[in-house]
Symmetry: C2
Subunit: 199 residues, 2 copies
């Protein structure tokens, strides 16, 4: 097929972002990760820094407030979070409308689910490998890395499950799920390229 | 890598067995599906027909008895089921020991988990596609196909989860998960060949 709209979801530390970046480079198409934040900021008038903070905050504040039944804070939290989601949703729709690209995270596979040229990917990896990578690549403390990774995955899952009617990482959502610790980062890029070029 | 031991798990109606068969043919290596039953029968002295019946029975009788707390029947049920599992386990260990091959189902990925030359695959597919395939390929009645498919998946999951410490279909168990309704049967075979030949 022609290079499609490729949406990549990934476990933290799996190298999914890097795989997406290398795939986009190999295909000569735009790569959207932080660029979605920039586009969402332009659209909405919110600052990129604020959007980025809201992305991080989602798990820590809003869902905690929801679970505690703190309605006043919740209403404000939902409102802010929804504004950011809506701004990013618009940015994702526009990015896809402009042509073939790679988009990482941000429920893009769900937002674009009605497009026929969608190729949906999930990258997972064994936890030990992710811990090593989080320490060596992201500089996380060795004794805190696993906890941080699991917390980040939980955050991603909650965000995705909150804004979609799906479960993050559920095989039903994706065309292909690759384990990067067993296939290698380059192996994953190569396999995805092969899948796209021969489809 | 050299052609490895390839274990394929699959949702019912996804074409996973067919993908395994075509992959084995393309690689020129043995394909074990019903052959595992034959080998297990030789090993154990149980008849192939009895083993096949036990495979089907697992969900219907044993777990029902377990859930009902019917201890006398349960003990006999567990014993028979365990004998079949053990016979198949030995057959799978021997098949893998003899060299590269494709093995479908029967917890082979779990039984062989300590081998370094293991390549673990799960094939899933969208439910509508599986229903169509179950009707056209297996001759299931159209109004009963979806229920039968979901029951069969549940049976496979229970069997796998009972004999392993894992969850059937969980992405953590597999090197690669492919959606055959979106990638096509041939597309899946081609991707798996590519993964194996370039690893």
């Amino acid at each position: 097929m022609n290079a499609p709209i490729i949406c990549i979801s990934r476990e933290f530390g799996s190298g999914g972002r890097l795989i997406g970046e290398q795939l986009a480079t190999a295909l000569g198409i735009p790569f959207y990760d932080r660029l979605i934040i920039e586009k969402a900021a332009e659209e909405s008038g919110l600052s990129p820094e604020f959007i980025e903070q809201e992305e991080q905050r989602f798990n820590n504040s809003m869902l905690f407030n929801l679970s505690m039944g703190s309605h006043a804070v919740t209403a404000a939290g939902v409102d802010l979070s929804s504004r950011v989601f809506e701004a990013e949703r618009q940015a994702i729709l526009e990015a896809a409308q402009a042509g073939s690209c790679v988009i990482v995270g941000r429920c893009a596979d769900y937002i674009l689910r009605h497009r026929e040229d969608l190729f949906t990917v999930f990258i997972s990896a064994d936890i030990d490998w992710r811990v090593n990578r989080a320490v060596s690549v992201y500089g996380l403390a060795e004794n805190k890395a696993e906890k941080a990774i699991r917390a980040k995955d939980k955050q991603r899952a909650r965000h995705y499950n909150f804004y979609s009617d799906r479960n993050w990482g559920d095989r039903a959502n994706y065309d292909i799920i690759l384990n990067s610790s067993r296939l290698g980062i380059e192996g994953c890029v190569d396999l995805l390229l092969h899948a796209i070029n021969t489809k």
